[in-house]
């Protein structure tokens, strides 16, 4: 027999080699995690009250919606696509929800309705992308204009949400102790992430997503349901955006057509920082979680710093991002 796994050497060598290969695939994520911890440590060292557990929990509280949106985005990017419409869909969801609730509809109707709306929008974009072979970029950009356009048409002003269920969700806190709590949104977002991670790792659909990212043509020739999966991925992203929008409206207890501007970029950034390749086919949802935490942590550091003028805020965000990315790059590269 020809053994091609083992480099010149003995069986033990082979075992080691295999272990190495295993870990190697997780290096980006591990590196990100490590750097994240370091960054947190730096924060603790520099700012009074940064070590407070609630500071960490707040990062989740403040970014639950982003986490959900980014989770959907992860699926899209893993197939090598991109979804620019997410921010607009979030805005549309909040506006529609707020308007309907304002008009006295019951939450039990509104909630499924807005989720459905987002899903359908995603489905539409996915269909256009697959059947008419339109570049995801334009298709979803059109979706972005459309969603914001509709939102703006519905109402230019921000609409308060006073519905009982919504306010309850907004103010409900799961407390672990005095002043240590998370919001229900956090729970929802984490559930979404767990389900997403499971789907990616353990279901045929999930693996097909990776396959398409690796090579859509090959996947097609291997007899995989490329079209169906593509459409499904954008539909999923649409749903996640809508759900993100709902969480957002919990968080803001209002709806506004200009909400979540540029959230698409935050989501994409989170996904990519988390080690997912924009060309698709490689990366983990857990990485995305880290990506979101990185952005959140940067924002927190900024707020703790206080006294930063608008421009210094931007510059510092850029610098922190830069430092993080370069370190991450250095670590992962060394392991290659």
């Amino acid at each position: 027999m020809i053994d091609v796994t083992a480099p010149p050497g003995t069986p033990p060598a082979k075992a080691r080699n295999r272990v190495l290969k295993q870990n190697r695939r997780h290096v980006p994520v591990l590196a990100t995690l490590a750097l994240l911890i370091i960054m947190y440590a730096v924060g603790v060292a520099n700012y009074r009250g940064f070590s407070d557990t609630q500071v960490v929990l707040n990062i989740f509280v403040d970014n639950a919606f982003l986490l959900v949106v980014a989770a959907g985005m992860t699926f899209v990017i893993l197939t090598g696509g991109i979804d620019l419409s997410v921010g607009a869909v979030v805005a549309l969801t909040t506006t529609v929800a707020a308007t309907l609730l304002h008009a006295g509809w019951s939450a039990a109707v509104v909630l499924p309705l807005v989720l459905l709306m987002g899903t359908v929008l995603g489905l539409g974009m996915g269909a256009v992308i697959h059947f008419f072979q339109v570049e995801p970029f334009i298709a979803t950009l059109a979706g972005m204009f459309l969603a914001r356009g509709i939102a703006l048409l519905i109402n230019r002003n921000s609409i308060p949400i006073t519905d009982g269920f919504w306010t309850a969700m907004a103010e409900e806190r799961i407390r672990f102790g005095p002043g240590v709590f998370i919001s229900t949104s956090v729970v929802i977002s984490l559930v979404v992430v767990l389900i997403g991670a499971y789907v990616l790792a353990y279901t045929r659909f999930g693996r097909t997503v990776y396959a398409i990212g690796g090579s859509a043509d090959s996947a097609l020739l291997m007899g995989l349901p490329v079209g169906r999966t593509r459409i499904a991925v954008y539909t999923l992203s649409g749903f996640c955006s809508a759900l993100g929008g709902v969480l957002y409206s919990f968080y803001m207890s209002s709806g506004y057509s200009l909400n979540a501007q540029g959230m698409e970029l935050d989501a994409i950034a989170a996904v990519v920082i988390g080690g997912v390749l924009l060309t698709g086919g490689s990366g983990y949802l857990f990485g995305t979680v880290l990506g979101v935490l990185v952005l959140g942590l940067i924002q927190t550091i900024i707020t703790f710093q206080g006294t930063l003028s608008s421009w210094w805020t931007r510059i510092v965000v850029g610098v922190l991002l830069f430092a993080f990315i370069v370190l991450q790059r250095a670590v992962t590269r060394r392991s290659r």
Binding site: V128, V134, I138, F145, L152, L220, W311, T313, V317
Partner: protein, 336 residues
């Protein structure tokens, strides 16, 4: 019949349709009069407005052709404009041509440096382009605001105003500058082998590496070119209103630029690119903007209108759509 097959036929058709639609609302739309020594009319306006987008667009085209993307163009515009205005403001005689030229040179040189920065992050450190340029996109705006101290810098400099608002030989200077840069880009890419090498790198990085192409140097070059284009666009933008507004300058222009590139038939995955297509795309987008105003689309529905145009555009542009819907339904071969 043959020109119908041409890649740019459909965008061109849409452009014509948009222009035509104006005639119903403003009769004098196509009339070009001579008005104190220069051409004056809506068409001229459209061209003038397109100039910055065309500039940014052609830079973006080359970046995208190598398989990259440049989100920082807007910030670079803001920075170069801000620096130029700052320097001109410090001149004891704001009307000295030399001083203005030097100030502009400074703006462009700074952009060049920023381009090197982007290029290095992407090519040498190997950061994914979208993140690498996101860093400058965020921090860059801060830097611009730092330069202008968050205020709008006014200059009262006749020579500077010429760049964005002036005319020579009856034509807007900005348009001439844009045309010049397009010419340079065309010559650079098509009269030398640059175009071929860029397309090779974008088409298949590994293959071109094994063919002895030095992707790194090329990549840095295109980011520098993109930044320079953005820098010049920034000068035009700020000169147009004789003031540097570091917030508004080039805000969200990266989206329009990418859209223009894609409309022009360059694929975001890199490889084959078309500068002519991008120019057409840019003009199309600005025509769209002018049209929304001149036919008096209410503000609330402007975005919807854009969405619809973009959707129509990307549908008719897709061969698959035409094959499936416009003609009698027949299966098109899956992309293999």
């Amino acid at each position: 019949m043959n020109f119908v097959r041409h890649r740019l036929f459909w965008p061109a058709a849409i452009l014509v349709a948009l222009l035509a639609s104006n005639i119903f609302f403003s009769s004098g739309f196509f009339s070009i009069t001579v008005h104190d020594g220069h051409l004056y009319g809506s068409i001229i306006d459209i061209l003038r407005r397109s100039a910055p987008l065309i500039l940014v667009g052609i830079g973006m085209t080359l970046v995208i052709a190598t398989g990259g993307i440049d989100l920082s163009v807007g910030s670079v515009m803001a920075i170069s404009g801000a620096l130029a205005c700052l320097l001109i403001g410090d001149l004891d005689n704001q009307n000295s041509v030399i001083g203005v030229l030097l100030a502009c040179a400074a703006g462009i040189v700074l952009s060049l440096v920023l381009g090197i920065w982007n290029g290095t992050l992407v090519a040498s450190i190997g950061i994914q382009p979208i993140i690498a340029t996101l860093i400058l996109m965020v921090a860059g705006r801060g830097i611009a605001q730092l330069i202008t101290d968050g205020q709008i810098l006014n200059v009262t400099s006749a020579p500077y105003k010429v760049i964005g608002a002036g005319y020579t030989i009856a034509l807007p200077v900005s348009v001439l500058i844009a045309a010049g840069m397009v010419a340079i880009a065309v010559v650079l890419t098509r009269r030398t082998a640059l175009g071929l090498l860029i397309e090779a790198v974008g088409g298949s990085p590994t293959a071109s590496r094994l063919a002895g192409i030095q992707a790194r140097r090329l990549t840095i070059m295109v980011y520098v070119f993109s930044a320079i284009c953005a820098g010049i666009a920034g000068l035009i933008y700020s000169s147009n209103v004789s003031s540097a507004d570091s917030n508004a300058a080039g805000n969200l222009i990266e989206l329009d630029a990418i859209l223009a590139v894609v409309i022009g038939g360059t694929r975001l995955t890199g490889g084959r690119f078309s500068l002519a297509g991008t120019v057409l795309g840019a003009v199309l987008i600005e025509t769209l903007n002018v049209t929304t105003v001149s036919i008096g689309i209410p503000v609330e529905t402007t975005l919807l209108f854009k969405a619809i145009v973009v959707i129509v555009l990307c549908l008719v542009q897709s061969a698959a759509f035409r094959a499936k819907v416009l003609r009698r339904p027949s299966r098109v071969g899956a992309s293999a």
